[in-house]
C-alpha cells in the first residue's frame, strides 16, 4: 500500500510527517486495540505512547514481505497493552470491568479509509463470530482462555474463527468490487459525454 510505504519511509528518515500520517490514519484503530485490553483511558494512553515509541525506534525491523504495517503495529500495541494489564498497579486500579461510556459502539466510529463500508461489513458478521474475533484479535486472548471464558468447546472456537474471517473477507471483496464497478461506470459516463461533445 502506498500510504504504508510513505509512512515507513518517512519514519525511517525520522521525519515528523511520518508520525502525522500515522496519527491521521491509524491512531484511532490502534487506540481501539489498547482500550479493548485495558478498558481505561489513562492506561490506554500509556500503552499507545509506549507503542508509538517502539514503532518509532524499531521501524527498521519492519519487513513488508512478512506483514502489512498495520498488522505489525497492531501486534506491538496489543502486546504492550497486555504487558501493562499484567502489572500489579493495573489490577489495583481496575477492579471494575464495566465499559467506558465513551467507547464507540461497533460501526459508529469514524471511518477514513479506502471507501470500505465498515458498518456494512459488520452487519454481515453474526455476533457469535464477532465475539470470537474480538477476543482473540483485539484483546489477545488465547483460544484456551476464550474457551474457558465463554464456556465454548475449543473446536467450536476454531471453527468460528475461520468462518468469521471468511465472512469478513467475502464482504470486503464484494465492497471492493462494487466500488470498482461504480468507478468504471463513472468513467464510462464521462467518456460518453466527452465523445458526444
Amino acid at each position: 500500500m502506498q500510504l504504508d510505504q510513505q509512512i515507513h519511509d518517512k519514519i525511517l528518515r525520522r521525519d515528523q510527517g511520518g508520525l502525522q500520517l500515522l496519527y491521521d490514519n491509524y491512531l484511532n484503530s490502534l487506540y481501539g486495540f489498547a482500550f479493548k485490553v485495558l478498558r481505561n483511558h489513562d492506561h490506554s494512553e500509556d500503552a499507545i505512547q509506549k507503542s508509538f515509541l517502539k514503532i518509532w525506534d524499531n521501524i527498521g525491523q519492519f519487513n513488508a514481505q512478512k506483514s502489512t504495517l498495520f498488522t505489525w503495529m497492531s501486534r506491538i500495541v496489543r502486546n504492550t497493552a497486555i504487558d501493562i494489564s499484567r502489572l500489579k498497579s493495573f489490577h489495583v486500579e481496575n477492579t471494575s470491568d464495566t465499559l467506558d461510556p465513551l467507547v464507540h459502539k461497533v460501526g459508529t466510529s469514524q471511518i477514513n479509509e479506502d471507501s470500505i463500508d465498515v458498518k456494512n461489513l459488520l452487519e454481515h458478521l453474526d455476533d457469535k463470530y464477532a465475539i470470537v474475533i474480538d477476543y482473540l484479535y483485539m484483546r489477545g486472548y488465547s483460544q484456551q482462555q476464550l474457551s474457558d471464558e465463554l464456556d465454548i468447546p475449543l473446536g467450536t472456537i476454531k471453527t468460528r474463527v475461520k468462518k468469521g474471517i471468511a465472512i469478513l473477507r467475502n464482504t470486503l471483496s464484494k465492497e471492493q468490487k462494487i466500488f470498482l464497478g461504480f468507478l468504471s461506470l463513472l468513467l464510462l459516463t464521462l467518456l460518453f459525454n466527452f465523445w458526444k461533445l
Binding site: G17, L19, S29, G32, D57, S67, F70, H104, I111, I165
Partner: protein, 260 residues
C-alpha cells in the same frame, strides 16, 4: 500438510494473522508462505479483513494525545524527530546557509558535553531496562513453575497413564487432567525421538465426531507441558505430525491414547 488446500482448510493462516500460534507453528506458516506463493493472496486478504475489523472498532482518543505522543518520543528516543520534513532547501540564500552552518558548529561545540552526559544517562537507563526485563522474565518463569506445582498438588486431578501403541512401546507419559479447573498437563517420562521437521500433536476424540486437532508441541527440556482442555473429550491421543501440525491425525504415527 502437503497441499495448498490442506493449509487453507487448516485455518493456520488465519491463526497466524491473529497471532495466536506457537513459535513452531508460526515458523511453519512462514515456510508455507514462501513455499506456496499462491497463499500470499490469502494472507494479504486476511490481513485486510482484520484491519477493516479493527477500523470498525475505532476509539477516538482525547484531543492532544498525538502531541503528547510526539513529546514522549522526543523525550525518550535516541532517534530525535526531524521537524524539517524531508530536507527541502528551497529559497535559502547562500549567506543564510553559511550563517546557519557557523551557528550549527557553535551549537555542536556548546552542546557536546551535554550530549555526553545525556548518552551516559541513557546507557544507564538501557542497562536498567535490561535488568528489569530479566527480572520480569525470572518472575514469570517462577510463577509458571508455581502454577504447575499448584496444579499437580490439586487432589481433584485425574492422573492417567497414556497407553502406548506397539510401534512406540517405550513411551511413558502421564496426563494430569482436572475437569473442574479445565486444565491438562502432560508429564513426560519418555517420548520417541522425532525429526526436526516433525512435532507431537494432541487430539481430542469424541463420540461420532472427527478428531479435533489440539496442541502442537516439541520437547525443549520440559517435564510438564500445559495442554488445552476440550470439554466432552472421551479419549485424548498423541501423534507425530509434520511441524506445524495437521488437521487429520496420522494413524501410523499414533504413539498413545488415554481415556478420560
Amino acid at each position: 500438510m502437503e497441499t495448498v488446500k490442506d493449509i487453507r482448510e487448516s485455518g493456520l493462516i488465519e491463526y497466524y494473522v491473529l497471532d495466536i500460534l506457537s513459535k513452531e507453528e508460526r515458523s511453519q506458516v512462514e515456510k508455507y508462505l514462501i513455499q506456496f506463493p499462491e497463499l500470499q493472496k490469502d494472507y494479504l486478504e486476511i490481513q485486510a479483513a482484520m484491519q477493516s475489523y479493527a477500523q470498525s472498532q475505532n476509539i477516538i482518543p482525547r484531543k492532544g494525545l498525538s502531541n503528547d505522543i510526539t513529546n514522549y518520543i522526543n523525550e525518550n528516543s535516541a532517534n530525535k524527530i526531524n521537524k524539517g520534513g524531508g530536507g527541502k532547501s528551497g529559497s535559502s540564500s547562500n549567506l543564510f546557509k553559511f550563517l546557519t552552518g557557523i551557528l550549527g558548529l557553535v551549537s555542536v561545540g556548546a552542546l557536546w558535553f551535554a550530549f555526553q552526559k545525556d548518552n551516559q544517562i541513557k546507557e544507564i537507563q538501557n542497562e536498567y531496562a535490561v535488568y528489569q526485563s530479566d527480572c520480569d522474565s525470572t518472575v514469570n518463569a517462577q510463577n509458571e513453575k508455581l502454577s504447575v506445582l499448584e496444579f499437580l498438588n490439586n487432589p481433584d486431578n485425574n492422573s492417567l497413564e497414556i497407553t502406548p501403541t506397539d510401534n512406540y512401546s517405550n513411551t511413558k507419559l502421564i496426563l494430569h487432567s482436572n475437569p473442574n479447573t479445565r486444565r491438562n498437563f502432560l508429564q513426560v517420562n519418555e517420548l520417541p525421538t522425532i525429526n526436526r521437521d516433525q512435532a507431537f500433536q494432541l487430539w481430542s476424540l469424541k463420540d461420532g465426531q472427527n478428531p479435533i486437532p489440539m496442541n502442537v508441541f516439541t520437547l525443549e527440556g520440559e517435564i510438564f507441558i500445559p495442554l488445552d482442555f476440550e470439554e466432552g473429550t472421551k479419549t485424548y491421543a498423541i501423534t507425530i505430525e509434520q511441524a506445524g501440525g495437521s488437521q487429520v491425525p496420522t494413524l501410523t504415527r499414533l504413539i498413545g491414547t488415554v481415556n478420560v
